[in-house]
Amino acid sequence: MKGATTPSRKEVRFTGYGGQGMVVMGLILGRAAAVHDGKSATMTQSYGPEARGGASSTQCIISPSRIFYPYVIEPDVLVGMSQEGYDKHRLNIKPDGKLLYDEDLVTLSPEEKTKNIHSIPATRFAEELGRKIVANIVMLGFFCGLTDFVAEEAIRKAIEESVPKPTITLNIKAFDKGKSYALSLLEGSAAKAKS
């Protein structure tokens, strides 16, 4: 998939709560796109009392050309890592957009209408890897497996540059875990489609 990323403007919203590393996710994805994938990227985050332990939300715009309007209009992907974040933003997803969420942290609304929905026990996987705080990177791997906004190599490089040095291996493992889970889901559904 490397090098074959989509040519149009893409919008992603990461939503969770303070301490889960939502900002880091946005920074890594944006950095990957801007510094290692020849694109433009804008990362913005919600500030204010929100940033202190409460809801935390990060927006990332990725585009092959100059980005004028720097905010999400209608996201191509909503990543939900908390119930509150999901509830707040679930109605604002592009018609053909995707919803990715941590299945242990978010319960879908009975009225959820998004067609492309993918869930992963990101936090549980992170705990299995030994550190709950890498749940965001598991989710980023999951995101990478399910989208083609930014080249995988670029994201890997950005992870290595963005996390504390002694934790690089762990973070890469977390990324791989999320990515392979995404691929297994895709294979599963492909197999289902065939049968």
Binding site: V35, T44, Y47, F68, P70
Partner: protein, 384 residues
């Protein structure tokens, strides 16, 4: 430790605040005196990390009056200097911004604007200090103020601000906003040798011949620094060319005219704008900083409905590009000013349109940005 750490050439993914600090570094800043205040604090934090790497000094002063004075002192000591602030800190800097203007001191003050008045909205955006930038210190003067709209621009414009400060021997303001300061984008830092930097214009005259406020046609006096044997006297009182106090209406007339002319006479060299979709424009959006990026979408939405709309994006806000507005007013239908306040730059636009076209404002109290749809509506209304 040394100059090799000064310019971090390469592609980065930086917040506007950090990009601003890197701009200061690249421009040759050696001194930063500041006082923490959201949303500009990250500039100070980065400078506290970076300046010692090149042998410069970061000092956290006791308040913003001290900060502003310390950077003036450092400039007269021979260093390039800067400070940053927001909200109430900008108010506290006004007293000695005036001193900097009257002493004709090259230095840079960055304001990452937040919502006001008073403590207002520490973490949220605003653009309501634009008139304060122009008139905030007592007395009559002209100022140079830039309004970057992205981390790359805040990097570039901080360098530009340092250059203008040296070129015109005056404090220069970078009037950014929380949205840009806290946004993260790609910032390309060029190789050191590609940076165009203006060195201090030290006089070649000898002590005894040099007068600190003497200038030619261009109204720009030459500089010296303390310790070089010139035995200058510099005062915030109204003074003559020697720098000696002269408490008279005549001296006041000379000095204030000189301060105004220095900027006004050179404004065509100073002013920079970006023109977008202007070729066929019947409606002109005037905007700057974060609002210009939001207005860009408003413009796109309106264009989709067939309105011929363009944008005059102000990169330099002060001195105001009055001649451009006058010229446009002769041929376009309407102006729509978009800013995070209730009409500050909009008043300047109106002043120079002088009734020759319709003028609209899309106001906003700050705390967030405009809705692009509201801007599009205003454009459509203006096009009617």
């Amino acid at each position: 430790m040394g100059e090799e750490r000064r310019v971090l050439t390469g592609e980065h993914f930086l917040t506007g605040d950090h990009a601003c600090a890197e701009g200061g570094m690249a421009a040759g800043c050696m001194f930063f005196g500041g006082y923490p205040i959201t949303p500009s604090t990250e500039i100070a934090e980065r400078m506290s990390l970076r300046l010692p790497e090149v042998g410069g000094i970061f000092i956290q002063m006791e308040d913003e009056m001290a900060s502003m004075n310390s950077i003036l002192g450092a400039a007269w000591g021979g260093w390039k200097s800067m400070t940053c602030t927001s909200g109430p800190g900008f108010s506290l800097m006004m007293e000695n911004l005036g001193l900097g203007i009257v002493l004709e001191t090259p230095t840079v003050l960055v304001n990452i604007q937040r919502g006001g008045p008073s403590t207002g909205l520490p973490t949220l955006s605003g653009q309501a200090d634009m008139m304060q930038a122009k008139w905030g210190s007592h007395g009559d003067y002209e100022i140079i103020a830039l309004a970057p709209n992205s981390p790359q621009e805040i990097f570039d414009h901080t360098i530009k601000a340092f250059n203008l400060a040296e070129q015109y021997r005056t404090p220069v303001l970078v009037m950014s906003d929380e949205s840009v300061g806290h946004m993260t984008e790609k910032v390309i830092i060029p190789p050191r040798e590609e940076l165009k930097l203006v060195p201090r214009n030290y006089t070649k005259k000898k002590p005894g011949e040099y007068l600190p406020f003497e200038c030619g046609e261009d109204e720009i006096p030459e500089m010296v620094k303390a310790g070089d044997g010139y035995k200058i006297h510099i005062t915030g009182l109204t003074h003559d060319k020697r720098g000696y106090p002269d408490i008279s209406a005549e001296a006041q007339d000379w000095m204030v005219r000189h301060l105004m002319n220095k900027i006004q006479k050179n404004k065509k060299k100073i002013i920079e704008v970006e023109r977008i979709n202007m070729d066929d424009a019947e409606v002109v959006v005037v905007s700057y900083g974060i609002s210009s990026r939001v207005a860009h979408r408003g413009m796109d939405l309106a264009r989709k409905t067939g309105v011929k709309v363009g944008m005059l994006r102000l990169i330099t806000v002060w001195p105001f590009p009055d001649y451009m507005i006058k010229e446009l007013a002769e041929r376009v239908k309407a102006f729509v000013t978009v800013e995070l306040n209730f009409g500050q730059i909009a008043l300047e636009v109106e002043r120079y349109v002088a009734g020759k076209a319709k003028c609209y404002l899309v106001p906003h109290a700050g705390g967030d940005v405009h809705k692009p749809e509201d801007i599009a509506e205003a454009i459509k209304e203006a096009a009617k």
